[in-house]
């Protein structure tokens, strides 16, 4: 039996990056789906809770949650390993005149900072939503949390960090996987920008409830209803 191909993945520079890139892209896909779900909350209590109930009635959900956890752990573990190695191998003394040669972007230069911001954000998110008391219903839990200034700040920062992380990470992952071609790379880069921009909608949702747009909307609707009845 030949197991060398398995051992090579975590123990080679390219193998580690392939694990990171594939887990990162799957996480990005999850984030897009999750964003779609979250946008339902703007449609109101019954739409959102209806979806959550339907979702949780799927018997495969616990298994999928474990899968998601594994993706996160793989990505975080190999991301930090890669960066630890890079830190170890980086130049011992920096250049006196230190400047970018033109390849770096804000996204690429801040990968490690956005990574730690995302890690904190994820832990916060899990404590307050995943392992919280769900008895009042998901809609109530989420919208009430978003009335809090601190909570919303965390969400806005988290969404911005995610957008920045993916502004580099999305196209970077394709390059890592060897998917690089003058025909497709511009399309991949453009898609990356769109995906990053979409992540800002996570922040929009929390601000929407913080600013009380839902209440205003309800008020308007009631007024329209009243005039119709009159």
């Amino acid at each position: 039996m030949n197991f060398k191909y398995i051992v090579r993945m975590p123990f080679s520079s390219i193998g580690r990056k392939i694990l990171m890139a594939s887990s990162g892209l799957l996480l990005a896909l999850f984030m897009l789906v999750h964003l779609g779900e979250n946008l339902l909350i703007l449609k109101g209590e019954s739409a959102y809770n209806g979806w959550v109930d339907l979702l949780l009635s799927n018997p495969l959900i616990p298994a999928m949650e474990v899968g998601l956890l594994v993706l996160f752990l793989l990505h975080i573990f190999f991301g930090l390993w890669v960066r630890f190695e890079d830190w170890k191998n980086s130049r011992k003394r920096n250049y006196e005149v230190n400047k970018s040669q033109g390849g770096r972007t804000i996204g690429s230069a801040t990968m490690l900072y956005t990574a730690f911001a995302l890690l904190l954000y994820l832990v916060y998110h899990m404590i307050h939503f995943r392992f919280a008391d769900h008895s009042m219903g998901f809609y109530q839990m989420v919208t009430e949390a978003f009335r809090d200034k601190f909570f919303v700040s965390i969400y806005v920062l988290g969404a911005l960090a995610l957008a920045l992380h993916l502004s580099h990470g999305f196209q970077s992952a394709f390059q890592t996987l060897g998917i690089q071609h003058e025909k497709y790379t511009p399309v991949i880069k453009a898609t990356g920008w769109i995906v990053s921009a979409l992540m800002i909608l996570f922040a929009f949702i929390s601000i929407y409830f913080f600013a009380g747009f839902d209440a205003k909307l309800q008020y308007e609707q009631e007024k329209v209803l009243e005039t119709v009845i009159e």
Binding site: K17, S90, E96, N98
Partner: protein
Amino acid sequence: MEKKTFGITLRVWKQEQGEQTGHFEIYKIDGLTGDISFLEMLDILNEKLLKEGREPIAVESDCREGICGCCGLVINGDVHGPDEHSTVCQLHMRRFKDKDVITIEPFRAAPFPPIKDLVIDRSAMDSIIKAGGYISVNTGSAPDANSIPIEKAQAEKAMDFAACIGCGACVAACPNSAAMLFTGAKIAQLSLLPQGNPERNIRVLNMVKAMDSLGFGNCSNEYECEAVCPKEIRISAIAKMNREFIKANFASEQ
């Protein structure tokens, strides 16, 4: 007609052999013209220093025509100087003006230990090539022309990757000291040619292993290497290497 001359101030990294660190030394030099090269300017300075009984600056160069790859320096923070996709030996003083202060540093990367002043030890790159950057199967005597047909476009692509001169600028520019562009160029070149085919799987695995064990970093796709490479090797070389790695790891006997 008398040519207009100008003077500059240099801040040059000085480091004694065997020392862990060094310092910046300030030199003033006058009487320069725009049509001498940067290395000639350093020659003039070194001669002047010798005449004054001071120690000249240790700096490496050989071909002075942009093909040997040993003249790498970081000038005012630019790897290989301010000209894009060029070597230091191709840089001319017309790029600078009177009273400029120019900071000159050696390439810095963990796998490139300093030797003296601006000279570094780049032999780790040779070790990567030794791990498989060649063809070792016996290919017999020179075949007749056109007996191994290679499509023109394919041959051109291989040549583009073969243009790498092993200067190490990609490593010096990389925040992770990665040698992916250099290694990728060699792997891409050989994998595009029929002569490289028999050993392509073992080659990529061995060269990547050597690269890792010599202390070169991982690739974060910062693309700084592509921006400085004097031979305009593109990051498609790295993508190609990664594809070769995936193929060799999952789809070969290795």
